[in-house]
Every structure is written in C-alpha cells, then in structure tokens.
Symmetry: C2
Subunit: 188 residues, 2 copies
C-alpha cells in the first residue's frame, strides 16, 4: 500500500469535492476549514496540486481570468489575460477520496490527521464518524494511562515546573476525551 495521503492532500481533495477551485481560493478555504492558524503556504500548496494532478486525482483547467466587473458590457472581447487554473476531482480522484473518507484506522485518529478527518465529517458516513471518534478516544485514554504511569515513576525526582507542565498536559487530554464523549453520544 502506498503511504497515506498527507493532511494537506486530504484537505485539498475534501474541499475540491464540494466545488472546483483554483489554488489561491483553495488556500483561503483551507484556512476556514481547519482554522486560520493551520493555513498552508503557497510553497506547499502548489506543488501538492501538481503532485495530485500527476497521480491523476485532479484535473486542472486553465481559465482566462474573467474580470469581476467589466466596465464595458462587451463580453466577447476579453483577451486571455493572466489566467488561473481551476482544479477539480477526476473520477479516479472521487474514488480515491471516497476510499480515504471511509477509512477509520489508526491513521485517522492520530494527532496529525484527526483534525482534517473531523473537518470532513460532513462528507463521511455516520458509522465511520463514530469509529473514528471512538478510535481517537481510546488512543487518548491509552496515552493518559501511559503518562500517569510515567508520572508515578518519576514524581520524586521531577522538577516543579516540569511537573506542572505534565499536569497541564494531562488536563488537556482529559478535556479532549470529554469533548469526544459528548460528540459520541450526540452521534447516536
């Protein structure tokens, strides 16, 4: 099996599944999808688009820039100025995305991927949503257990601030578990 798609690739495919977009616009929507502090740079976005195109998942259509408001009403005389490339999913791309969105294994629970997968829950079927939420939940409780044991082992020799950092870390994870619990009950 080839390596899983990256966060960026998943997000691109998910967004383009709703509607075709060009790179610049896509970036803005990525910011809205995942929160403005996970916006990707053009330096990764454009190469990613090209790579997806080369894999046959996207088709790029060069489009002459239609001026937003033309002063003159003559529609035909627009000479092809600096154009933009509108990308859309190919049939293969749709299949690939459907496959990706129906997967609910560890890759979907991990820190790096969970957020994107969650953001695309609107395109994910209910059983898969539930399995991902539960998978993430058990992943987090495992982590909780590991941290607690490690804390118990090293409590004595641990520096004051380091200990505070661990407490806060535990707190964050516990909170996320409760958040997941709410979502899980709400899903049924």
């Amino acid at each position: 099996m080839r390596s899983r798609s990256t966060v960026l690739e998943t997000a691109i495919l998910g967004l383009l599944n709703s509607s075709p977009l060009h790179g610049y616009e896509l970036r803005k929507q990525l910011g809205e999808l995942l929160g403005p502090f996970r916006a990707f740079s053009y330096g990764s976005l454009y190469p990613a688009l090209r790579a997806l195109q080369e894999r046959g998942l996207l088709a790029g259509l060069e489009q002459s820039a239609t001026p937003r408001r033309t002063r003159t009403a003559s529609a035909a005389a627009t000479k092809p100025t600096r154009s933009r490339i509108v990308y859309e999913l190919t049939l293969l791309g749709r299949d690939y995305l459907a496959d990706l969105l129906s997967s609910s294994g560890p890759a979907a629970w991990e820190d790096e991927n969970f957020d994107v997968r969650f953001a695309l829950f609107g395109q994910t079927d209910a059983e898969t949503r539930l399995r991902i939420l539960e998978g993430r939940r058990s992943r987090l409780t495992e982590r909780l257990e590991a941290v607690r044991q490690s804390a118990a082992r090293t409590r004595h020799r641990l520096d004051e601030y380091s200990a505070e950092l661990q407490r806060h870390g535990l707190d964050k994870v516990e909170r996320e578990v409760r958040w997941l619990d709410d979502l899980i009950t709400h899903e049924r």
Copy 2:
C-alpha cells in the same frame, strides 16, 4: 544573529546543565522533561549532540562502560568494553545556555518553544519567567481575537463539523489563557 536553537538543542543543553549524561540516558530524561510523547528519536538526538559539540558547546568524554554490578569485587580488571560517551557543557556552552534562558522574546512564546522554555523555568530567573508567561498570554489572546473575527466572517457558509472544530479550538486556547493567568498570579 544565527538562527535560534531548536527545541531539541535547548532541551539537551538544559538537561546537561544539571548533570553530564550520555545519549541514551539523555533521551529518557528528555521524555520525562517534556512528557513521554515528545520523546525524540535517536536519529535526531545523536546528530544534535555532534552538532553541539562541533559548535564547542558540549564536550564528549568517552567512558568505558562500568558494569552496573560487578560479580567479582576486583575493580581494576574491567577491560574497556563497549563505551559510552558522556556529554557535558563547556564553559562556552554554559554561557550560551545562560543567554538562551534569559531571553524572553517571541521565540520563547511560540508553540514550538514555549514548552521547553517552561520546562526549564527551574533554571530561569523570576523576571524572565514572568515575561515569557505574559508574552505567551498576549500571543494567545491575539490569536483568540483573530479566530473570533474569522469565525464571525465565515459563520454562515461554515460546515457543521468545521464549526465545532473551531469552537473546540477556541475553548482550548481560552483554557490555556486561564492556566497562564494562574501561573502569572502565582509568580508574584
């Protein structure tokens, strides 16, 4: 000015300031310092140690492995088996670390660095601690403001799950601000 030290480098210097250690042991203590899920791999640890040594901040002393428990009490006959390299800060290294730990600019507040800097607060003077905590706090409130505005602008067209993700994100940041507030009052 040369580029700031990485998280790993900072953590290494901070730990070695307390006591000399060899790589393998160092890694374990890194896990305790930052939490078991921020443990670094040997693949980054050993190159980092070498790089710090080449910059003159560390001195590595090859040490023949003293068997933990010698069956025979004869201490002298230990032939130099597989040795380990114990690293310690040079004088230059101590200066460099002191400088690093007294800095309280943006680099110390950012997501990537804040945790290490906090974990090393035991070696940081009180004014610097306070400035870092306050710097991080204001960074987070800025972020809060930005996310709220972005949310207000895009509320309507936002997908249900995407919106939930943003709410949860806001919640996490708000919590961290309150945590910082507690720490700040406690620091005075």
